[in-house]
């Protein structure tokens, strides 16, 4: 069904564009420079990877490669997101195809964990350890030269110093999540895999974590995280990977993806001083597919967004109508996601 | 919603058939203004629900196999006893000896089905309590018009009644069997009636004690397999210890271990109620007064009840 618009199956995979937005908010304390990935290799790469259990195909021939920056992994429940994350984490063998971390095969290759930080959603944290002990436990297993300092830094990064010496069993859900993140970051990895990282966090911690991940991405790290909260993905991710029924439905910047959906006319809500007059002025132009005057102001459906956007200010000035608001209604990540998974 | 036509618009005059004018009824959300029966009703509803769940009624077929299977195994010996009795009575004088020798009289019936009752408790109690804890259903119960004590009372009460049914059914069959097979029903009824209080008394003790033990143990072990194993251990092991103690030890230390064994306590009360010799060596060896056994049984029920209430008072829903 999706022949109507060419889905860019990128041959030369576009490196996830380095984030053009400056990393807002507080920068994490300057971490030591991440160990360089193998030259020319992508942080995370799937090459025609599939995974099935008997006849059930969980992941069906998916290829993508991610460089520095933040990528959001999206998909309805049961679409195969967790299977992809497990394969990328080297915890699950692909039935066919290759999964590599910094150029190295992920499956049965513990050395990838030197460069890979993991925050799995399912992983339970041992309740009897304190936050500090858990971080130091991870640091020692990574054979870090100074595990205590590394643990302290990781705990500071996730703002857990206050509760570091309480056992994790007494932590709230959000604090347990931050302890897990501290454990996953303690060896300062250049590549990060996070499965619903903000689950259970309160608004303040959420903002802090978003700023943290943005800052880490701007240091050149490759970050892949899955989430169901699209507001967060929209704010944090440079590009998105949408998985649906085990297939890669879309990949890249969601605004570009929306523009590629030429089969869905773009809907724009306009509030102006005189909606009816503006409507009559806009109608003659061929880019206007439909107009509706309703309580939410003037709704225009246009097949050619760019042309209409140039037309609007000129037509309004000609008609002497003041424009107060111009809102594209169906361009949010929510809508794009809904369109992708509803085909 | 289309025009808000009052629900149940009166049909027109043409004999109450379909309203000729046609009307659209409001399918929107209707508030409930029926009766609200409050806490007591909720407790009774939970108790009856518990009894039904114990027998797997209202659940799939699979849930009925164990309870009904065990209940059937409890009834079979009673039916056999009644059959023997009926044949014996037909055979006139010679039959009288046979009737007396019949293995199953009221007093021995409890002993005969004891194992079945233990299995029933061990299998069904976890079914009631384990699931509520393991799947956090408790938070749904406690957020309703019930207090936590109501939940406990309803669950224990319901389970004890279910056991009572299991235990009294065979007795009822033997009781009816005796009367119906007797040539002179009124006379037979006359001399069977005085036994009734003993039957019911022992039934209540058995259901209360075993029910309380099973429910309390499964309240502390949400996982079904462990709960069943634990209940069997609590009911089966003490009699073995009492047995060993009685043989191995001469001193009176052994006498008191018999009180830890629910099985022996019930044998003792059964013997006193029907005034027959208790067929349990430790009980005979301990030679304790009957009031001690009754006190132990009732005391145990009270203590277990308190433990249960405290457990559910402090459990985090």
């Amino acid at each position: 069904m999706n022949e109507t618009h060419e889905t860019r199956q990128p041959g030369a995979a576009p490196m996830a564009s380095p984030p053009d937005t400056a990393a807002p908010g507080l920068l994490a304390p300057p971490a030591p420079p991440a160990p360089p990935a193998a030259p020319g290799a992508f942080g995370i790469q799937l090459d025609h990877a599939s995974r099935w259990y008997g006849n059930v195909v969980a992941v069906n021939d998916i290829s993508f490669s991610l460089g520095p920056g933040v990528t959001g992994l999206l998909g309805p429940n049961g679409a195969g997101k967790t299977t992809i994350l497990h394969m990328t984490a080297g915890l699950l063998a692909p039935s066919t195809g290759r999964v590599t971390i910094a150029g190295e095969i992920a499956w049965r290759n513990p050395s990838i964990y030197r460069r890979l930080g993991l925050v799995p959603e399912r992983e339970a944290v041992p309740g009897h350890l304190t936050g500090r002990q858990y971080a130091e436990f991870n640091a020692r297993l990574h054979r870090l030269p100074d595990p205590r300092a590394a643990a302290a830094r990781a705990l500071a990064t996730v703002d857990l110093e206050a509760a570091a010496d309480r056992t994790i069993g007494t932590y709230s859900k959000g604090m347990q999540q931050r302890a897990k993140i501290a454990g996953g970051l303690v060896h300062d990895p250049p590549i990060l895999l996070l499965d619903e990282p903000f689950n259970g966090m309160d608004p303040r911690q959420r903002l802090h974590m978003i700023d943290l991940l943005r800052a880490m991405a701007s240091e050149g790290r490759t970050i892949l995280f899955s989430s169901h909260i699209l507001e967060e993905v929209e704010r944090l991710a440079d590009s998105i990977l949408v998985i649906y029924a085990g297939r890669l439905a879309a990949w890249g910047d969601f605004r570009q993806i929306r523009r590629l959906m030429t089969d869905r006319p773009r809907t724009i809500a306009i509030h102006s001083a005189d909606d009816r007059k503006l409507a009559t002025v806009l109608m003659p132009d061929e880019s206007v597919a439909g107009v509706e005057l309703g309580p939410a102001g003037l709704i225009v459906r246009t097949g050619d967004g760019e042309r209409f956007a140039r037309l609007l200010p000129k037509a309004a000035r000609a008609a002497g109508v003041t424009i107060h608001e111009v809102l594209p209604i169906d361009e949010s990540l929510e809508r794009v996601f809904a369109y992708l998974v509803s085909r | 919603m289309t025009g808000d036509v009052p629900a149940g618009a009166a049909p027109t005059a043409n004999g109450g058939g379909a309203p000729s004018t046609g009307s659209i009824y409001d399918l929107g959300y209707r508030h409930y203004d029926g009766p609200r029966l409050g806490r007591r009703h909720a407790l009774v509803a939970l108790m009856t629900y518990t009894i039904r769940t114990t027998y797997g009624i209202g659940r799939g077929g699979r849930a009925k196999i164990i309870p009904f299977g065990l209940a059937a195994m409890g009834i079979v010996p009673a039916i056999v006893a009644v059959a023997i009795l009926a044949l014996a009575r037909q055979a006139g004088e010679a039959g009288q000896l046979l009737a007396e020798a019949s293995p199953l009289r009221y007093d021995s019936l409890y002993g005969a089905i004891a194992q079945i009752v233990f299995l029933f408790c061990a299998a069904q109690a976890p079914e009631l309590l384990g699931k509520d804890q393991r799947y956090h259903v408790l938070s749904l119960y406690f957020s309703r018009a019930l207090a936590r004590t109501d939940y406990v009372i309803a669950r224990v009460g319901g389970f004890a009644i279910a056991i009572l049914i299991l235990v009294l059914l065979p007795q009822a069959i033997v009781f009816l069997g005796r009367i119906l097979s007797a040539p002179d029903i009124v006379a037979e009824l006359g001399d069977n009636l005085p036994v009734l209080p003993a039957i019911i008394g022992q039934g209540l003790l058995t259901a209360g004690l075993l029910g309380a033990i099973a429910v309390t143990v499964s309240a502390f072990t949400p996982r079904r397999a462990y709960a069943t194993a634990a209940i069997i251990a609590v009911i089966v092991i003490p009699p073995v210890i009492a047995q060993i103690a009685e043989q191995v030890a001469r001193h009176d230390l052994a006498r008191w271990t018999v009180l830890a064994s629910a099985q022996d306590v019930l044998t003792a009360t059964n013997a006193w109620l029907f005034d027959v010799r208790p067929d349990s060596d430790p009980v005979r060896a301990a030679a304790l007064g009957p009031e001690i056994y009754f006190a132990t049984a009732i005391g145990a029920m009270v203590v277990l009840g308190a433990i249960l209430l405290r457990r559910y008072q402090r459990i985090s829903a």
Binding site: A58, A93, E123, P126, L141 | R250
Partner: protein
């Protein structure tokens, strides 16, 4: 950070995980059973019962295998099931470090619980010092053999507890009685063989001799560790959507 310190880190965490409050009490009670029986027979009994028979029945046949079963299957198996094991797997350390640490800890904890129970029971039964030493040695060797076997099983299947129960109750218990051949694969017989070698009993048993016992124990120790490590290397997280 040498291999030893990594293994020690895992071991420390495993000790803490295994000796949770509830499990420690439970295993303490199990270890108490032979002591109680010994106490009872000493206080209330007349003659002194055959101490070796009680030690064999209650310690070697019951407390040792069951303690090893619980600690062996939970040391690694429970972490793989509840997800905390992922923290170990996603570390740049060889898999045999993990398995070795788990076996050592399970072995030590089993040995401690069982040996203490054996010694206290022996003293109460008035067992000769030399026999007691034999039992302690046997218990330690048996503990590590059982622990290795059960840790390996817990990586291979999630039903390790059931498999372990079937092995101890059916294979070593019931079948051993009927088919003498099974003795050569029974860790219980191997443990008894070691004990008899250290302090020969009055009546010679027809179980495994020392040489047979030691070969079985060494085979179990090596095979268990290697198999466990290889299997852990290929361990895959289940399902997920």
């Amino acid at each position: 950070m040498s291999a030893v310190s990594v293994i020690w880190t895992i071991a420390q965490a495993t000790f803490r995980a295994l000796l949770g409050r509830r499990r420690t009490i439970l295993m303490g009670l199990l270890a108490l059973v032979p002591v109680l029986v010994a106490l009872l027979s000493r206080v209330a009994g007349d003659g002194v019962a055959d101490d070796r028979a009680i030690l064999d029945l209650l310690i070697i046949r019951t407390v040792l295998p069951l303690t090893a079963l619980v600690f062996g299957t939970t040391a690694l198996g429970s972490e793989l099931d509840d997800g905390t094991g992922v923290a170990l797997l996603t570390k740049p350390i060889p898999r045999w470090h993990i398995v070795l640490a788990k076996i050592v800890v399970a072995g030590i904890v089993t040995a401690v619980f069982t040996a203490v129970s054996a010694v206290v029971t022996g003293i109460l039964l008035g067992t000769a010092g030399e026999t007691l030493v034999a039992y302690v040695v046997g218990v330690i060797v048996g503990a590590f053999a059982y622990a290795t076997a059960f840790v390996a099983v817990s990586v291979i299947t999630t039903r390790a507890l059931v498999v372990g129960l079937v092995y101890t109750l059916l294979w070593e218990g019931w079948l051993a009685g009927i088919l003498p051949g099974t003795k050569s694969l029974s860790l219980r017989e191997a443990t008894l063989g070691v004990i008899d070698a250290v302090s020969p009993p009055a009546v010679v048993r027809d179980g495994l001799d020392l040489q047979g016992s030691l070969t079985l124990i060494v085979v179990v120790l090596v095979a268990g560790s290697v198999l466990g490590a290889m299997r852990l290397a290929r361990y895959q997280v289940k399902g997920g959507d």
